[in-house]
Symmetry: none
Subunit: 413 residues, 2 copies
């Protein structure tokens, strides 16, 4: 079942509104087993709507249009569709009663423009909108189905879930697109591709597709199958293999975040954590507390931006700072070890680096970061060389610190 | 100047990634004076790319394609464009050197797949990508210009701002839409509209348009003029008037951030700042250090998530916590005052609240936050009631704290 989406609205074209409807429909319909082949966004003009309909591919089964069904003058989708498909507008009694009830329940006067919303193309199948006054429409056009939905997200979503999907199931009995996504941190896209080349080739030979989705510090790996959930076990097996190839990078699946994975490991081992941060200045602590119930494992942090506070608050020997500099292996370790005692935690992570844009030297360029993790038994420390963008260096540092922490917390197997 | 956008990527079609690139490009190019007539999202397949190019309207001046320029096998945009426009791929020396430098600076090995990213269509104009290895391309095709950009947002954005817009200005000299944006914090959109109604009416009567652009905690107010920079002074006058109407909310213009405004006030008065954070756990400190050179005014913070650390690190009397609870006016003040002494700063901001989703009571519901600001002379404290979304409550708390701080730092006039 192939689907094209058409989103109508100037606010989408000029970027005042981000097109989350298309993303939601894409996700919902993919999970349902449809294949989204194209989404098009156009302005609120009849000629544009007709032009978009005319460029729909012949092998598309279903076109879903969102937007332009409101009561005001700039809402023209319904009129345009009725004219294009040669259907007269006719008062739809059930919809009229729903609209009347809608206003009565809210003690608000009903305007003529609202009454006219119940005028619907004769012969279309009406998709009820329990959350608003703009009904959805199902129009058959040859082998294709044209669906028109309101653009207000929560109205659109409830029509899709309650009215549209059951009808589509009846008609198409779709075979599912099945996909699963793994998350990796700390290996660049091309280096990763190199590292997993044999694995990827085996995957492709097995009629599965791999997509790389990079973002700063991370690469998502998604395996697609058009054979539906039948391939689920096979895909799980491939991911299990991948875990053994890149254990230091692969940290989770689907909606799992790195912070969640770390939180689970901490809670599972009943460990309390704190941080001593210099360059990241709270961004790491914030990530650790994005999870509801973070107080179960997170105690607190020292943000020692100045050298004086590194000594006063985290107990770093000022001689170490004088000898090695604040951005050094030695100071990173001292921060984590000092913080662990002062914050009275089991594990303490420190960050110290040169976020930029200035402050770099030949020996210690902008983007150099040291991260240390102190536990009762040992202190581990690593250096990283990121780029020259301040904000991004901080994001990358936090991602690297969380993944370093995750790897340290993994039970030995 | 008419522009069509083509976004490439299965992750967009299946809704795994929301197409924020299209929104950003729509906004940036509209502001620049271009008109976006259509955006299309297609999958990573050559036939789809060619089909999308073939349905571009004849009167479109410029097509901007994003995505599919990475080093891995699923990145096919460059090859497809080269073939479609009959251009051979040729090593582009400057790009090669840039890629080599990119890896060298990061102490990372450069792979053959990265070297091949410097193979670009012969005859295209190269748009330099200082943030990554995938160069942008400008291809002339008859009267139309075809632009290909990487899909990674921050790479795409910097290429557009630094390389593409200057070239488009040279070529099309777009008729200027002149606009200026003011930033407000702390007043909801409809309440704000009510408060500035007379001012807005005067504006409209003067042939200027006002747009409200809300986001959590903030509303941007943009005045548009289609008469170009000729209206600049008039618009400035209106904004001056507005400053007097909502001084507590209006904090800056254009690209100014609230943190920048606060930083300027601190530096101007030679004040050192620190924070003692509970619910925000570093997010406020992070905001204060997003600005290069933050060490001029920012010293450090105590993140006392647990009550024990509120006492141990920030010197809060445990009896206060027992009597009033950690989320209270009294504890907020004690945190700010204690932090000011321990961190040895001139001014200290504290946050304590119930971020949610759980932990609320009838008396202290989820979303309740106390913020205090302690200086040598006095401590000021305020409470806020936000909503039930954890992440959003933290964002709103930081925005409110920074704006509270800004207003306290304003010189008396």
């Amino acid at each position: 079942m192939k689907v094209e989406l058409i989103s109508i609205g100037d606010e989408l074209l000029i970027g005042q509104t981000i097109n989350t409807n298309a993303a939601w429909l894409g996700q919902t319909l993919s999970n349902f087993g449809a294949r989204i082949t194209k989404t098009t966004t156009i302005s609120d003009q009849a000629a544009e709507i007709i032009s978009a309909l005319n460029t729909v591919s012949n092998d598309t089964d279903c076109v879903i249009i969102t937007g332009g069904l409101g009561p005001t003058n700039d809402d023209i989708t319904k009129h345009t569709l009725a004219k294009h498909y040669g259907l007269a507008l006719k008062m739809h009694q059930e919809t009229l009663e729903h609209i009347e009830g809608y206003f009565k329940n809210r003690n608000r006067p009903m305007l003529e423009s609202n009454r006219l919303q119940a005028m619907l193309p004769d012969g279309c199948r009406v998709l009820r909108n329990k959350n608003g006054t703009a009904a959805g429409m199902w129009i058959n056009s040859g082998k294709q189905v044209i669906i028109s939905l309101p653009g207000v997200p929560y109205e659109m979503k409830s029509i899709v879930e309650e009215e549209l999907l059951p009808l589509l199931t009846n008609k198409y009995n779709p075979s599912a697109l099945y996909y699963k996504t793994a998350h990796t941190q700390g290996i660049g896209e091309s280096f990763l591709a190199e590292k997993i080349r044999d694995w990827e080739e085996a995957l492709n030979a097995d009629a599965l597709q791999l997509a790389y989705l990079p973002s700063p510090g991370f690469v998502k790996l998604r395996i697609n199958s058009y054979k539906g959930a039948a391939d689920a076990e096979k895909i799980n097996r491939y991911f299990k293999e991948l875990e053994a190839i890149i254990p230091e990078a692969l940290y989770g699946y689907e909606k799992e975040t790195l912070a969640e994975v770390v939180a689970k490991l901490l809670v599972g081992q009943n460990l309390k954590i704190g941080t001593v941060e210099s360059c990241t200045s709270g961004l790491l602590a914030h990530q650790l507390t994005t999870i509801p119930g973070a107080s179960e494992y997170y105690q607190g942090s020292i943000l020692s931006y100045s050298n004086a506070l590194k000594t006063k608050m985290a107990g770093v020997d000022p001689n170490l700072i004088a000898q090695y500099g604040a951005v050094s292996q030695e100071v990173a370790c001292a921060m984590a070890e000092g913080g662990r005692e002062i914050l009275e935690v089991d594990i303490c992570v420190s960050t110290t680096g040169i976020a930029g844009p200035s402050g770099g030297t030949d020996e210690k360029p902008v983007g150099l970061v040291w991260i240390a993790i102190a536990t009762k038994e040992k202190t581990r420390v690593k250096s990283f060389q990121f780029g020259d963008n301040r904000e991004r260096n901080l994001t990358m540092t936090v991602a690297a610190a969380l993944n370093f922490l995750r790897f340290e917390l993994l039970p030995l197997t």
